[in-house]
Subunit: 489 residues, 2 copies
């Protein structure tokens, strides 16, 4: 490098640097849901960041480079590698590669970053953390029920109280069966119906009715062509979407009336009945896991049950309008992913939480612990000649399990106190010549200082039992600091 | 994708899929050292996987693409991005970018994967996990002392008993000062001396003597040119390398005699004296952190103290020969990294552990907990009509904190028992028609079965107080399973 070249220090577009408070929230989520998944018998698996692009299904054999949605590069042996864009594709590759040696069904969970080479924007990142659980090798609907129970339990484990979140469940086979009954035969028409149904939340039944039929013109005058169902068929689809009832059993019998008839629809109903039974025996009731025929989930690869975790809580958007927080994760049954490699169909089911999204949900629900960002106790450097003394104090506090550090910069007292405050330190420890000579130590209660400054507490009221600053015998150092650290101000 | 294209399922070259036991060992290491670093007042930071290639220093401004040692690709705005190859370069970029807004000194720890685009080989991977701690903005030698104390405490926190590992400390200024004294003025000659010194472990003093002088011919006849020191200078360097004594104080006084004279050497000695004092006051003695003048550390960017964590334990290589396990991490003071961006020198010090390397060290030291890989209790599917019952049993066990699952494959009893055994399940729970009718449950002790099979225990001895299989009232399910799960067999 030439002496004069100075690169600009900048975070790459669409990537972020995460600080302690956010990371602690994310780590807590990962630990909580991992504990749930392990209790369900799932074992952790971690594949590498890269997959061969053909294994990701992002490489068309008649093209000379992968799809632009992934970060790809060519290895020195000419093979294209791409960073994983989710955790399911690597699982499919792993399962196909090691199938003979795995205990079957294979139950694994995984967490880690995934990368999408998309246009970055506000809140849209090109790297984010996912946390997944999947079972490969079981066609039993009870395997789906287990995923649903794990989602519900995971949401509670991270701190969302029952009633603030629900897992909504549907089965692709129901709508497929209904569409067969009303005469939909082409795949493009089926997908057009799915797209229309997916807009129910946004457009309501009337909007969807247009999209199921000839098409819909929006306020701007733009026209979206419809699925071209006849009126009777469209009404049956709408009746299906509205078939949810007060509990899973009632929804099931209602669905039987609405769908009735096709082999695939009946299969879907039988699957849902088994899911219902298993959920009930696991103690997961309708409030935590409900049947909702309007749930679609975009991905085309789902072949049976689909489920979505939704936060019920209302929150405010950037304009201050009340909005439903919405989905924090989802999944479903996909029976064709492993077959891409082996040609052999392998039943699988699983789901994914977006970890940052879940962290945002917890913040919105007011479930973030305030103590998260607390800094260490700072031992002030009053006299650089007494450094040894300061290190002994810090070591004593650490040995007692209290985070502590000696200030290591070159600034004076005032800057040191400001540093401690910026670190959100609970306390500062001061040892001047007087204290050292007298065998004492002065402890400044910074938590209290912040509480007073924020108007959370009243100066007079606190002065007696919690002085802002106190000089105590050195032997009482740990106990005095602990009183401040443990206090909830 | 055409119907017939079937990609080969394969792990990319130089990458690995990690299973539960390895991941648990790594996670435990990360949690243990993170707790230590937080107790020292360090806050976690996580930067993204990518950095701009120029920010990594891997992009020569007069070249049109980055150095081949990194995984690099061009973004759609033509900028070259590269996956980080360590955690220090992103910290330097972050510090330069946000310096004005950070509490100073800035103390952060980080862990996560780093990527090196190198030729893969046995045990040589292109992705691995590092765990780092650094302080930016402190020139105090005590900041180095703290790093050394954190390394020593980290090694114990992960489970290496005192005496099995040591942090070895040196200071670049000492050798630099000595070289100035003996008349070395050119940078290439200085680096040649460093390279020679770095081979002390492998070649011994005699080999290094040749490399310090005219050069050395190895057994194959290949000639390595030497640093061209005269004999007197070479002997002074060798005396310096052998200056380590029985404790830090004695080493310091011995070093003063060996080096004496140069300004830089005296500065290095004064720094080491302060490091010694701080370590002593933190309770870190010579057995855990020793001065060793022969420590070099390859990276050219170190400007002062350098330290290396070494496992003292002997282990066997693939040929069965006893070998020192060696280094598991290291670091030092680097005062120029941030200046690359800002032009302003910013003192910094830090160190890095290789997490997989540390896990291997723990395995070599016999410190791996055997319970790590234990699977869930498996509830056997005897009668698919009774699925609900099985899920109730699994939920009951989970609610009691015991990992449990219902077998969800389609195979019979024998395959199910084999599955449970492959998962290393402690127990299998069997509910046939008889048990359900009688309100009982049969529990098979698989831990015991494995212990018997491995000859660890004796059949007769165990039969009385620990039967291989027992039928108990359903109300005693949890207590009976817990007895097996909690037993140490």
């Amino acid at each position: 490098m030439t002496e004069t070249f100075r690169p600009d220090a900048r975070t790459p577009r669409g990537f972020i640097d995460k600080r302690a408070a956010d990371l602690r929230a994310e780590r807590r989520i990962i630990e909580a849901v991992s504990a749930v998944y392990e209790r369900y018998g799932f074992e952790r698996l971690d594949t590498g960041a890269f997959e061969y692009a053909d294994a990701l299904g992002k490489f068309l054999p008649d093209s000379d480079r992968p799809n632009e949605g992934v970060f790809a590069l060519q290895d020195d042996d000419e093979q294209w590698m791409a960073l994983r864009y989710d955790l399911t594709a690597p699982l499919a590759r792993f399962s196909a590669q090691f199938w003979e040696t795995l205990p079957k069904p294979f139950r694994r969970y995984a967490f880690g970053p995934v990368w999408r080479n998309e246009k970055p924007g506000p809140g849209r990142f090109r790297e984010f953390i996912q946390c997944d659980a999947d079972t490969v090798g079981s066609s039993r609907p009870e395997a789906d029920a287990e995923m649903i129970a794990m989602m519900a339990e995971g949401l509670e484990a991270v701190g969302l109280p029952q009633g603030q979140a629900v897992v909504k469940i549907n089965n692709r086979k129901l709508l497929n069966g209904l569409l067969t009954t009303v005469g939909v035969q082409s795949e493009p028409q089926r997908l057009a119906v799915l797209r229309a149904v997916d807009k129910l939340d946004r457009l309501g039944a009337d909007g969807v009715r247009y999209l199921l039929g000839e098409g819909r013109k929006d306020e701007s005058g733009a026209f979206t062509p419809g699925a071209k169902l006849n009126a009777g068929a469209a009404e049956r689809v709408l009746a299906f979407l509205g078939a949810g009832r007060e509990d899973r059993g009632a929804t099931l019998s209602n669905l039987a009336d609405v769908i009735g008839g096709s082999v695939e629809g009946d299969e879907g109903l039988a699957d849902l009945a088994k899911i219902d039974a298993a959920l009930t025996r696991m103690g997961v009731d309708h409030d935590r896991a409900a049947f909702d025929p309007s749930i679609v989930r975009g991905l085309e690869y789902y072949t049976g049950a689909v489920f979505e975790a939704e936060l019920l809580l209302e929150t405010r958007d950037e304009h201050g309008h009340a909005v439903r927080f919405g989905s924090v994760g989802g999944g479903g049954r996909y029976d064709d992913l492993v077959a891409r490699f082996t040609g052999e169909r392998q039943p699988a089911t699983g789901f994914s939480f977006g970890v940052s999204r879940l962290a945002a949900a917890l913040r919105a629900a007011g479930r973030e612990a305030a103590s998260d960002v607390r800094g260490p106790v700072v031992v002030i450097v009053f006299d650089p000649q007494a450094m040894g003394e300061y290190f002994a104090v810090a070591a004593e506090l650490r040995a007692a399990g209290i985070a502590a550090e000696v200030y290591l910069g070159g600034s004076g007292m005032k800057a040191q106190m400001k540093y401690a405050d910026r670190r959100l330190s609970p306390a500062a420890v001061i040892l001047g010549g007087d204290e050292i000579a007298a065998g004492t130590v002065t402890i400044k209660d910074l938590d209290l200082g912040r509480a007073l400054a924020a108007g959370i507490t009243d100066n007079r009221q606190w002065r007696e039992d919690r002085p802002g600053q106190a000089t105590v015998p050195r032997a009482e150092l740990v106990a005095s600091v602990r009183r401040i650290v443990d206090a909830v101000s």
